[in-house]
């Protein structure tokens, strides 16, 4: 058996922002009652990070929890650990109505790096990317041009984007086009 591959095998583009497919990323889709302490503490334990608030990304290196909807979270972990995290959750929550699925292969993740990350995202998403409106640690599910995506900032110069795997080539082209030299808007840095 060969090693699994990510959608674009870490394709990279250097424009006024650097765009890179982030490679394999463990992801566990979790649904359950977010108002239940038993549920949230099980999730938080499995992820190794605190629960995120509304529309937040709670991150620690490759581990994290993304707030996806009022009854849905996405657990981030190193790719090989996703099955273990899922199994652990399922075991802890065996008596609780919930859903936990390893969906690490269903998506592609991209890293944007540079002063202009806000400008690149503002070209594609109907979202206020001003520093006082969208801060590191916040998460937004929306569309980038014509496809569904979620993104968050790790810092003012680093963003991460996830989308479905089948549109990873479109997303790469989209982000690269938005980051093309000479196209910086210069509004939010860059």
């Amino acid at each position: 058996m060969s090693e699994p591959v990510s959608a674009l095998r870490r394709a990279r583009y250097a424009g006024f922002v650097t765009v890179e497919e982030a490679g394999l990323q463990g992801m566990v889709q979790i649904r359950g009652d977010l108002s239940s302490d038993a549920f949230t503490s099980a999730v938080s334990d499995a992820a190794g990070v605190p629960m995120p608030g509304l529309r937040e990304a709670s991150l620690d290196g490759r581990n994290g929890l993304l707030w996806m909807s009022p009854d849905e979270l996405m657990l981030l972990c190193p790719y090989p650990e996703a099955d273990r995290a899922m199994a652990r959750l399922q075991a802890t929550l065996s008596d609780t109505h919930h859903l936990a699925l390893n969906v690490s292969d269903a998506r592609a993740m991209f890293t944007l790096q540079g002063n202009g990350v806000r400008d690149v995202l503002a070209k594609l998403a109907p979202v206020d990317m001003a520093p006082d409106a969208f801060r590191p640690g916040m998460l937004r599910r929306t569309r980038l041009a014509q496809v569904a995506a979620a993104f968050w900032l790790r810092s003012d110069t680093q963003a991460e984007v996830i989308c479905f795997r089948s549109v990873a080539p479109y997303m790469m082209e989209l982000l690269s086009t938005a980051a093309r030299p000479g196209s910086a808007v210069g509004l939010h840095g860059g």
Binding site: M1, S2, P4, V5, S6, A7, L24, Q29, R31, G32, D71, H97, H98, L99, L101, N102, V103, S104, D105, A106, R107, D119, A122, K123, L124, A125, P126, V127, D128, M129, A130, A133, A145, Q146, V147, F164, R165, S166, V167, A168, P169, Y170, E173, L174, T177, A178, R180, P181, G182, S183, A184, V185, L187
Partner: protein
């Protein structure tokens, strides 16, 4: 002649010359020129031909309102028609050509139309081309198409070589217009701390004020502009964008800004245009005012120009339009042009002022400079053809009897000013008629309202009808502060700087010159220059009964050209109201629609062209298909291989080979696009029982069941195999197109109807690559891979199992859409390509053959399996398709059950699914109808059925088809006739739809 003066031109840099060509002629200009000012500096006054009569035309304006000076710009992939020379910044190497003439701009055959103008009146096309009806297709339409359009459409094979993009921006206050009012409003808004975006359509700030003069806070308007701009630039909460037009205002504070980044510098990197998609809490429009022409005979002859435009060319670009300029006016402002021309050393033989009372201090100043001023007089007509040679003067109150002729080579006209109210009006702002100024202005308290029902657009400066420098600055200061306050900021009461300018006498509205002009004069008095609409045309429309301004507009084409009537609308409206004997506000205006001036299609498309035109979804095995010559079929946004032609094979031959391989040995299909939805929870079974027509809750873990889904209307919407994973969990397969829509359908019912049911769903379609291994040798291949028991006993038909194959983690479903022994293998997407490669390599000994969607269709049709979208079209219920076996009789309820009890759903006369075999073995045409005796009420042949799927079956060596036929299942063996597009009919026999292996022995081995 028009020429560059030895000095002057505040916007041009004479140290930087630029080369360009017009109709192939090499010319030079300066940095800072517009194409119009550069052409005028080269004595190229004639710039185009009008649309209908091909009249020779030069520019009449200096900005966005220009109707005449439209040119073709660029070449090849960068060719663009209908570009306004007045707003095109000159650059080195610019190439422009004039439009709408043949053979040349100077000698245009189409100009004959002008002599036919008596027989080409308003509504000519509507009257002429009605009859005889038969002429439309072969005579009229080709003629109209040939003569339609001003500029040439770009070559069909050319592709826009530039890139474009969108940019989403959120702001507290958007100010549109970078004149002194816009700058003032932006400043007072920004001082409150509000986030302000200020847009200016041109490359320069300050608007008209630097040309028109006066002082602001003791400074010249130019110095005040520079100082204010510097202040704004220093504020972190202010964003300034020049070359960005506020194109439109829409609901809930949405606005479009059209930024032209490289039009003036085509070699610069980056996108050509950027469309700003702005969401503003408050929008201030400070869009100024536009001067109106006067309606007199010959007001379109090159050399007749708006007085303000002539002043612009002189002051901004150091260009004179003529050596001897007659000024015609009904207000004081035009005197500024006369004075400026005189100061520049040019001759002004006379100022013709339509007002008997004349002007104020500016008139006195002009007289003191020795300029002759005629009060109460008008222009009877302008003399000249391709350029002005003189004017005939008359009494304004008469019919046009000529008192005097004055030789001149230019005429500066002014009919007063109209506020630019477009952006205010786009989203519903109302207007009032201002009697004193003779213009429409925004009505106080009638602004467009936002999501909270509060006004979100306000107007500052001249756009609000404030025509004095002091008045407009004070208005702008207050409006800016009020906008910030409305956006939730604490704006201090701001007092505008003191402004001084010469006091003016009131204007006198003049809608026709002379007031009683005879017909021959009226039919040479242009209202709409670009579309050749004259005073006489609007009067004719009124006589013919057109009372509504909207109807008159469409009948005469007034205001329908690319300039959208910026110069013509008010004059046309006044002409119509006079003809109808009604007041102007009674007649009202036409609707203002975005964009303010045309914006490029590229900007609207943004990044969505070429590779980004539409998302293309790719399976994890996509690259293999591409490397192996797949012919693609778009299925929604997915690309699926249709077939894999080898060597010289055509598509049909490839499909035959693929089908035979599956039936005889071993085929391989990328089925990754099939939807996969996890449904989990204590109520999952109950939920699926509602969604599917058959019983899913009784399915045993480890087993699969085929299911049908219907809408509440009863119609079949999707089908697929459901696998029960455990007591709580099901995996539902959907069609390729159904993954997202069926998942959304599930969530809709769970969230909005059965929200107390404990069910979670997840769309895991893309988590897995799914590969169908199909054919008599399928099991041998899987056994060769090893890792799990795939025997009939361990994994029987309609069962599934988790395990490994060849070391890959897999879930294997024993399901078949081909009628053969078949395994569908799901593996995490990251392994998909490697597993596919392994199957290809290990399957070589059985000549493993990847097959595409067409072979898939043929295989299923041979088995009589239905396909959503072929056998269904949104009007078909499962009962029509003989699928009663998949409809539970025991269930009290499921989506669609009630509708399937409608009388027309249970009507025995519904067309039902059957197989069809042509008598001569040929393939029935797709979608063909079966004819019946007689005709219907429309005289059309009656029908009794139609073809839903039709293929050549390689297995049977003949055409096979499925179709819906009246009483079909009861008519086995009967021959009916199907239409053929060539006009004959094809006989086909009604048979059972299962053409191959009716007992199902092959798939269950």
């Amino acid at each position: 002649m028009s020429m560059r003066l030895p000095t002057g031109g505040r916007l041009t840099d004479r140290s930087y010359r630029m080369e360009f060509t017009f109709n192939g002629k090499r010319m030079t200009g300066y940095a800072g020129d517009t194409l119009a000012s550069a052409l005028l500096a080269n004595d190229q006054l004639l710039m185009g031909r009008s649309f209908k009569y091909h009249r020779p035309r030069g520019p009449v304006a200096s900005g966005a309102e220009e109707p005449n000076a439209l040119v073709n710009l660029g070449k090849g992939d960068r060719f663009e028609p209908n570009q306004r020379a007045t707003t095109t910044e000159l650059f080195n190497g610019l190439t422009a050509t004039s439009q709408n003439h043949w053979p040349s701009l100077e000698a245009d055959i189409g100009a004959l139309n002008t002599h036919l103008s008596r027989v080409l009146p308003a509504g000519f096309y509507y009257k002429m081309f009605m009859y005889p009806r038969a002429f439309w297709k072969h005579v009229y339409e080709p003629f109209i198409r040939q003569s339609a359009g001003l500029g040439k459409a770009p070559d069909a094979e050319s592709r826009d070589a530039d890139s474009y993009e969108h940019f989403y921006h959120f702001t507290d206050v958007l100010v549109v217009g970078g004149g002194v009012a816009g700058l003032m409003a932006a400043k007072t808004a920004a001082q409150s701390g509000a986030k302000v975006l200020l847009l200016e359509q041109s490359a320069h700030w300050g608007g008209r004020a630097p040309v028109d003069g006066g002082t602001i806070g003791g400074q010249s308007p130019e110095d005040w502009t520079d100082a204010t701009l510097a202040e704004l630039q220093a504020m972190p909460n202010v964003t300034l964008r020049s070359r960005t037009m506020g194109a439109g205002v829409y609901d809930h504070g949405y606005a479009l800004g059209y930024e032209r980044l490289t039009d003036h510098a085509p070699e610069a990197p980056g996108p050509r245009h950027r469309l700003w998609r702005i969401r503003a809490k408050q929008i201030v429009t400070a869009t100024g005012a536009i001067e109106r022409p006067l309606s007199f005979a010959g007001n379109d002859i090159p050399g007749v120009m708006l007085a303000s435009a002539m002043r612009d060319y002189l002051v901004n670009w150091g260009v004179s339009i003529g050596d001897r300029t007659v000024v015609v006016t009904n207000n004081d402002d035009a005197y500024r042009t006369a004075i400026a021309l005189k100061k520049a050393g040019l001759d002004v033989p006379a100022i013709i002022d339509a007002r008997s009372y004349g002007g104020g201090a500016l008139m006195a100043e002009a007289r003191a400079m020795g300029i002759r001023v005629e009060q109460g007089r008008g222009v009877a007509k302008v003399l000249g053809g391709k350029r002005v040679t003189g004017v005939a003067v008359c009494n304004q109150l008469g019919e046009g009897a000529v008192l005097d002729e004055i030789a001149c080579d230019a005429v500066a006209m002014s009919g007063g000013w109209s506020p630019v109210v477009h952006l205010w009006s786009h989203c519903g702002g109302k207007l009032d008629w201002d009697e004193a100024g003779a213009f429409f202005r925004p009505r106080a308290g009638a602004a467009p309202t936002d999501a909270d029902g509060k006004p979100f657009v306000s107007v500052a400066g001249a756009a609000d009808g404030h025509m004095t420098l002091a008045g407009l600055l004070q208005d702008a200061a207050e409006t800016g502060a009020a906008a910030a306050t409305a956006a939730g900021f604490d704006a201090a009461q701001t007092v505008a700087p003191e402004a001084e300018e010469v006091a003016e006498k009131p204007l006198e509205p003049v809608w026709l010159m002379p007031q009683g002009a005879r017909y021959d004069l009226r039919m040479k008095a242009w209202l709409d220059y670009q579309n050749d609409v004259k005073v006489s045309d609007v009067q004719l429309a009124a006589r013919e009964g057109y009372e509504s301004v909207e109807h008159t507009k469409r009948y005469t084409t007034l205001g329908m050209a690319t300039d959208q009537g910026k110069l013509s609308n008010i004059n046309g409206l006044a002409t119509l109201s006079n003809a109808l004997g009604e007041s102007i506000p009674q007649v009202g205006t036409t609707t203002f629609r975005p964009p303010y001036t045309p914006i490029s299609m590229g900007a609207i498309a943004g990044e969505a062209h070429g590779a980004l035109f539409q998302p293309v979804r790719q399976t994890p095995i996509h690259a293999w298909h591409e490397e192996n010559g797949a012919h693609w079929e778009p299925v929604g946004q997915w690309r699926r291989p249709y077939c894999y032609p080898k060597g010289e094979e055509d598509h049909a031959q490839a499909v035959i080979r693929e089908v035979k391989a599956v039936r005889q040995s071993l085929g391989l299909l990328d089925a990754s696009t099939l939807g996969k939805i996890i449904v989990k929870g204590p109520d999952a079974g109950r939920f699926l029982d509602m969604l599917y027509t058959n019983m899913m809750s009784t399915l045993k873990p480890g087993k699969c069941r085929y299911g049908l889904m219907c809408s509440e209307n009863g119609f079949l919407i999707d089908d697929g195999v459901v696998a029960r994973i455990d007591e709580d969990t099901f995996l539902c397969h959907t069609t390729t197109g159904g993954a997202e829509s069926i998942h959304a359908h599930m969530e809709e019912w769970l969230q909005t109807e059965w929200w107390d049911w404990q069910v979670y769903t997840a769309n895991v379609t893309e988590q897995f690559a799914q590969i169908a291994v199909v054919g008599p040798k399928a099991r041998m291949l899987l056994e060769k891979l090893g890792g799990m028991n795939v025997s009939k006993e361990a994994l029987p038909f309609m069962a599934w199992k988790d395990g490994t194959l060849g070391g890959f983690p897999v879930r294997v479903y024993r399901i078949s859409f081909s009628g053969e022994l078949s395994y569908e293998i799901a593996t995490p997407a990251g392994h998909g390509r490697a597993l596919w490669d392994l199957l290809c390599a290990r399957g070589a000994e059985w000549n493993i053959t990847p097959y595409g969607t067409e072979a898939l269709h043929v295989l299923r049709a041979e088995k009589g399996f239905i396909m959503i979208g072929d056998e269904t079209d949104g009007t078909v219920i499962p009962q029509d398709l003989g699928l009663n076996w998949a409809i539970s009789k025991k269930k009290v309820d499921y989506l669609g059950k009630r509708a399937q009890a409608w009388p027309h759903m249970t009507d025995p006369a519904r067309w039902k699914l059957v197989g069809l075999l042509t008598e001569d073995s040929s393939v029935l045409p797709e979608g063909a109808y079966a004819v019946a005796d007689g005709t219907n009420a429309n005289g059309q042949r009656n029908t009794q059925g139609r073809v839903t799927s039709t293929y050549f079956s390689p297995t049977l060596g003949r055409g096979i088809a499925m179709g819906l036929v009246l009483n079909g299942p009861d008519r086995m063996g009967e021959v009916i006739e199907f239409t053929h597009i060539e006009g004959f009919t094809v006989p086909a026999r009604i048979v059972d739809p299962v053409f191959y292996d009716p007992e199902g022995e092959k798939q269950n081995v």
